[in-house]
């Protein structure tokens, strides 16, 4: 480091040694780069799980009974069968088409889906079913909502040891 060196005009020129600062900066940069964790965007699905209300007298007549989506699992937890109110479906895409038809011309806020699943069914299939009944992404990338009220029936069977 040269402090106080005279230049051609006779003024003293102070040259700061930048090397340590650059070293520290690069170390900081490497630290932050290595500790960076990129998380994928996460979203939430609201599900309806109210406590059983104690009602008195005769129960009110249900206007729209819930649409039952039954999902059966094989012994390894993979999806074996989907039934929409007893009607077998080939895929989740077909489930969405059926739900779309059910929603046509109706107030979707009055509709409700009840998921009836086997205990061992992998959770990813449940999320797939929730996705397909609750909406879809149209050609413009906008979300079109179908049925948002989703609830669960108690799981069938029990854990496989």
């Amino acid at each position: 480091m040269r402090l106080g060196a005279r230049d051609t005009t006779g003024f003293r020129r102070f040259e700061l040694n930048m090397t340590p600062m650059i070293d520290v900066c690069f170390q900081l940069l490497i630290f932050f780069m290595l500790t960076l964790k990129v998380f994928a965007t996460e979203g939430d699905f609201d599900i309806k799980m109210p406590l059983a209300a104690i009602s008195e007298g005769t129960p009110k007549e249900i206007e729209n009974p819930p649409i039952i989506v039954r999902m059966k699992a094989d012994s390894r937890g993979r999806l074996a069968e989907i039934l929409l109110t007893e009607k077998p479906l080939k895929s989740f895409q077909e489930l969405r088409e059926e739900i779309k038809q059910l929603c046509t011309g109706r107030d979707t806020t009055t509709l409700e889906v009840e998921l009836d699943c086997d205990y061992v069914l992998r959770y990813e299939y449940v999320m797939e079913a929730i996705t397909h009944v609750s909406g879809y992404v149209d050609q413009n990338g906008n979300i079109v909502k179908l049925i948002e009220k989703i609830k669960f029936k108690p799981a069938r069977g029990g854990p496989v040891e």
Partner: protein
């Protein structure tokens, strides 16, 4: 005595460091701002299921409690950085409920966010929800990872 004096042509090269330092500082600031220290609520062990409809909530949830269900056998729940068996979750939820009551809030208005592993059993997820319901929690959200839908697959 030196008869001849050799003039060594010495050229000092002083590159302008300013742009490089500018860029370095900008990079440091970027990484500092994107740094996420709070990772206990987003355990890397949980492989979330994907959904094309999963979008971040528009407003933050009221009194959120994040429960992360693993696919371990027997299943465990990660809550506040601690991993406990499903059987012990009731005690933790009871403490959460007491904490909410001390803050003048009710369990019914709190939101239980469930981050369950995609391989977890559906029955286990429902069991976890049931444990929460038994203590008066009513509002539940299921968390999923956002999945991009290609234009060709859009309906």
């Amino acid at each position: 005595m030196k008869l001849f004096r050799h003039h060594v042509a010495s050229e000092t090269c002083n590159p302008d460091m300013t742009p490089m330092i500018d860029v370095t500082f900008q990079l440091i600031i970027f990484f500092m701002l994107t740094l996420n220290f709070v990772t206990e609520d987003q355990s890397e062990r949980i492989k979330l299921p994907e959904s094309e409809l999963a979008k971040p909530p528009e407003a933050p949830w009221e009194s959120p409690i994040i429960l992360q269900l693993t696919d371990a056998k027997p299943p465990t729940v990660i809550v506040g950085g601690d991993e406990v068996g499903l059987g012990l979750i009731k005690g933790i939820l009871q403490r959460e409920k007491q904490r909410l009551q001390e803050l003048g809030r009710s369990a019914a208005k709190a939101t239980v966010i469930i981050r369950a592993d995609r391989q977890a059993h559906t029955g286990t997820v429902q069991k976890l929800i049931k444990e929460c319901q038994d203590l008066g929690f009513e509002r539940f959200v299921l968390r999923a990872r956002e999945k991009y839908t290609p234009v060709s697959q859009r309906t």
